[in-house]
Amino acid sequence: MADPQNKETNKIILSIKDMGKIYTSKKNQVKALEDINLDIYEGDIFGVIGLSGAGKSTLVRCMNFLERPTTGTVIFDGKDLASLTKKELLRARQSMGMIFQQFNLLMQRNAVDNVCFPLEIIGKTKKEARIRALELLELVGLSDKAEAYPTQLSGGQKQRVAIARALASNPRVLLCDEATSALDPATTHSILELLKQINRDFGLTIVVITHEMSVIEEICHRIAIIDNSHIAETGNVIDIFTNPKTQIAKEFVFPGGDKLDRVVGSRCCEIIFDGNSSYEPILAKTILECKAPVNIMFANTKNVDGKAFGQMIVQLPEDDILANKVMAYLRNQNIIVKEVEAGV
């Protein structure tokens, strides 16, 4: 995982307050978003996760006013987007890059000319634009494909061109709308690595919209879970991963259904790994120290940046004294342990 968000500046770059979006047609009104409140800090990688139709895409389009929110405000870099004139809004958008699931490259332009496109829009000369475009293609590792047309590029290469294009106008924020959803896992990983590198090297704020928890885990620092047009939960990815509060958050963290359903038998306890204890063989040590066998019923842990996060449910010995001893030992090791009702 990349560096934690830049605590030194801790400046809010994008702030959304009480925002709502209603689509009105002749027959009915559809609430796409309601009561949205978000603060995105400069240098952060912020994730928005939700199921299809939850309102993620509308949310990202409200961030650059491609869609005008019906209520509430969007403040980007200190400016209320609603108060801007048409020209000022175009200028504000020039400081927000965006990449898409379907890449949306110009099919009649080759890679380098695609990257030149936003530079032409901001009025750079052809020569200046080309020099900068070639630099950016190098940054995304596609120098050798500068003259290739989109149809000659693979999905991952197209997304790299799109990233270079989005970075061309030196944006303050990069919006990624399901940017890896059309890519295979290996390519997804390499694109996410590139985004992390850009975040690290340039301190660029990145907003990632996705329906995949794996993308969030791999790249994001803070996330918002959006469900049914509302924000269900916001917080650090680690907090939500170790302790999801809402139903929707639990579904994302435990895609297979609620973990407790699988637990059968007598006393069980839930062990939560929150990143403090991954280098020690905790469970093995517990068994040896307490001389008590435990049975792993469920485990869902992730190795994030060398630290373990996640949960494990173990079945404790029948003997109450032994069971209590195990729990006490675990607590002594500064591990969060909760007893759970069996078979619930």
Partner: protein, 221 residues
């Protein structure tokens, strides 16, 4: 039949036909292209005025397109006289040809430009491109292959319209076909004019398709 007089007649006729067709196509595009773009832009805008403009433009285009060319040809004669000073000959025919084909071209342009991927236009909007920049740098270049095919269709349609103008002394191959074939029963001459028209249409169509293919970076790098 193929004496020098007849050959002269055919070559003059062909030149007149090409003159009418190409000048009319150019002028019709000068009106039809912006009109077609206006139809696209106003249909995609959310503002009320754009919506109303779109409806008005649509109605005008449909009205002009629903008048059969032969009727339009005769109906606009007073206007033709004002513009050109005469109602016969190939230059006079250009006026009704432009009036009839500009709305048709507007619809061709509209459908070509609407084929451009919505996402690509959205990407340009995200980069802060103005509507004019999107038209110039996204819509037209991305729709180019389709626009070229449309132009081939337009030019052949205008060519066949121009032949119809022969009825009212419009000049070109159409006039020859009608004067000799219809009024004097000289079928051989009519057949030759038809053959020439067929060949010209073939050439326009083939050249158009080739140009579209060569220019299309999706299939031709």
């Amino acid at each position: 039949m193929f004496n020098s007089v007849a050959l002269d007649m055919f070559s003059t006729g062909l030149l007149e036909t090409l003159y009418m067709t190409l000048v009319s196509t150019l002028l019709a595009y000068a009106i039809g292209l912006p009109l077609g773009l206006a139809l696209v832009v106003t249909s995609e805008s959310l503002s009320k005025t754009a919506h109303i403009t779109n409806s008005i433009l649509g109605i005008i285009v449909n009205l002009l397109r629903s008048v059969p060319f032969l009727i339009l040809l005769i109906a606009v004669t007073p206007f033709t006289r004002i513009v050109v000073g005469t109602t016969i000959g190939s230059t006079a025919t250009i006026v009704p040809l432009v009036i009839a084909s500009a709305p048709f071209i507007a619809r061709l342009v509209e459908s070509s430009v609407k084929e451009v991927d919505r996402g690509v236009i959205e990407a340009a909007q995200c980069m802060g491109a103005s509507t004019m920049q999107i038209i110039r740098k996204v819509m037209l270049p991305e729709a180019k292959p389709s626009l070229v095919i449309g132009a081939a269709i337009a030019v052949t349609t205008i060519l066949s319209y121009s032949a119809m103008a022969g009825i009212v002394g419009g000049g070109g191959l159409g006039t020859i076909a009608i004067n000799y074939g219809l009024y004097r029963y000289k079928y051989d001459i009519m057949l030759v004019t038809i053959a020439i028209l067929v060949i010209v249409v073939q050439i326009f169509q083939e050249v158009g398709m080739k140009l579209a293919k060569i220019g299309d970076r999706r299939i031709n790098q």
